[in-house]
Amino acid sequence: MLFSTRWEYMMRQKILIVDDSESVRQQLFEALSVAGFDILQAPNGSAGLDLVQANTDISLIFCDIHMPVMNGLSFLEAVSKLHRPSLSVLMLTAERAPDMIAQAKKLGAKGWLKKPFNVDMIVTTAHKLCPLRAA
């Protein structure tokens, strides 16, 4: 069987973007989709948690900190209680308060990414934590 693109014979990994900024979600969505990932989006932690519970195949989450309804650290805490070892969470935020970084680390986040962000850096990090797998 012939494949027209590299992505067709690789399993597309699923990434969730949780950010209240539509513009951030849109830029990450476009960059990560082109890079071969399936993307889900949520505007706050509560909606993000619903998606995590409904999609057991999510591999990676990019999550903001300051959001209405449910913030990023509360979301991270809720996700950690689901005990999904194959799921990595990266915080993507303009925040750098040491106590928040320490709390995120304690709650199981795999990393802390700085805003302003570069979409190439986001894609590189996604590939590092979420390598494409042969189908």
């Binding site: 209240d20 300051h66 750098r96 700085k114 302003p116 962000f117």
Partner: protein, 178 residues
């Protein structure tokens, strides 16, 4: 001029360089950001553009950051297809203030950020309090104006007071993997 302007000015410069350096695609020079007076700001603000506003509150500092970006420059900061989303200017104001917070934290100055709002459209006016520090930001791709209106009940100084055990990442670290 507010007595703390000289203290905060380097922080505002660094935050603006960080923001536009990332999104405009080249590092900005210090000369690209200048302290300006109201008439110069009015001229820059007459361009078509959008404005983001975000509040901050903390024990030693509270106020508002207002960021105007011309449409031409705003489009240059946008990495996706089409026009920038309506909330992008608010997100940029949020990120500029986030950078200021990161830079002030090692000096013991902390504050919480509010949720940003975005304004655009004709006859849209932002009231800038007299004597507020204003900065004109000039890039090859367009102009911006940043205004930082604040009050402080204490003497601000940028002496490092951070605990050496604190895990504060350096400004160069865009990605920290645990």
């Amino acid at each position: 001029m507010h007595p703390h302007d000289a203290v905060l000015s380097p922080i505002i410069h660094a935050a603006a360089r960080d923001l536009f350096g990332h999104y405009v695609g080249r590092m900005m020079n210090v000369e690209d950001i200048e302290s300006i007076q109201t008439p110069a700001a009015t001229a820059l603000l007459s361009q078509p553009g959008r404005t983001g506003v975000i509040g901050l509150t903390g024990a030693s500092l509270r106020g508002t950051l207002i960021l105007f970006i011309s449409d031409r420059l705003l489009k240059a900061t946008w990495s996706s297809s089409g026009e920038p989303s309506a909330d992008w200017i608010g997100e940029l104001a949020n990120q500029a203030l986030g950078s200021m917070k990161r830079l002030l934290l090692p000096h013991g100055i902390d504050f919480d950020l509010g949720l940003p709002s975005a304004t655009s459209g004709t006859n849209c006016r932002i009231f800038i309090r007299p004597q507020s520090p204003l900065y004109g930001i000039h890039t090859a791709k367009g102009d911006a104006v940043l205004c930082f209106q604040y009050t402080s009940q204490v003497d601000l100084c940028l002496s490092t007071v951070a605990n050496p055990d604190d895990d504060i990442p350096s400004e160069d670290e865009s990605v920290i993997l645990f």
